[in-house]
Symmetry: C2
DNA sequence: CTCGTGCTTGACGCTTACGTAAACGTAAAG
DNA sequence: CTTTACGTTTACGTAAGCGTCAAGCACGAG
């Protein structure tokens, strides 16, 4: 194994905010809610790769319309320690629930996309009508 | 054409609430926000098929995590009158925007589902380890 | 007439997810 | 030393999406 030296980069709160296009307030709020736990150097927050990944996951969860509470359970699944059997079984159950939820959403999206296609077709037709009528006047 | 007599059914607010599993308050709230416009017989609300369909669309929008404002623009697209050219062009633009949004969501969902698969696999493996260890003790 | 059932309109309350100051610390640059 | 940039906490404000009374009408059954 090569064991390449990764510099183990860190980020300031402002850097993360810029990169993900959120406000500092938002990032601190997520910390308040226990979703992020950056290192502290004195009073200053220092974000490690783990924190950055978590922020990414949180924001994706938001785009999907999950509440922060739901996001918390999801994100925590990602870096859960192996733990004991009860924990694992619970986790597997959560996964099943989440998956069902997401699949419902996917169906909703498919339906909506199809209906948008129809509405668009109708619009295009109406538009064409308008223009041919105008041309023949 | 057969021109089958459709009874043009109507519903009470409670019937709709039961069918879609929402509260009366919710339905009235949507009306307040201009999302529903039931007929009034005296003071009583009477819901026609159109209203019922709209409620269905609203709730699907909610499942998708859209705000009521966004849902309003979507739902209004469905029964928009042909209208004039400017309107149609605007509508087509809205459709494009909505579609982009939904496709982003779909990608987010796919990613999340895949990652859930991985987390699940890890869990299953951990569980297996635990059990074989226990068996060999 | 009275009761119960279902509907109505306010109006206040609550949670979520932040926005928006206010007031202060720290550290490098001019 | 002062300014500037960047960070901090505390705390009140707000918009969305309802929940939850309160108070009242309408109507059929008993």
């Amino acid at each position: 194994m090569h064991n390449i030296r990764v510099p183990a980069q860190t980020w300031s709160i402002a850097e993360l905010a810029t990169e993900y296009d959120v406000t500092l307030r938002t990032i601190r709020f997520y910390e308040d809610r226990g979703l992020l736990t950056p290192e502290r150097r004195g009073t200053v927050r220092v974000y490690h790769p783990r924190d950055k990944v978590r922020l990414g996951l949180i924001l994706r969860g938001k785009r999907l319309g999950f509440s922060l509470d739901e996001i918390a359970t999801i994100v925590d699944m990602y870096d859960a320690e192996p733990g004991e059997e009860g924990q694992l079984v619970y986790l597997l159950d959560q996964i099943t629930t989440r998956r069902a939820d997401l699949e419902q959403r996917r169906r909703d999206i498919e339906e909506t996309l199809h209906e948008l296609d129809e509405v668009e077709a109708r619009c295009q037709a109406d538009l064409k009508n308008l223009r041919t009528q105008r041309a023949s006047s």
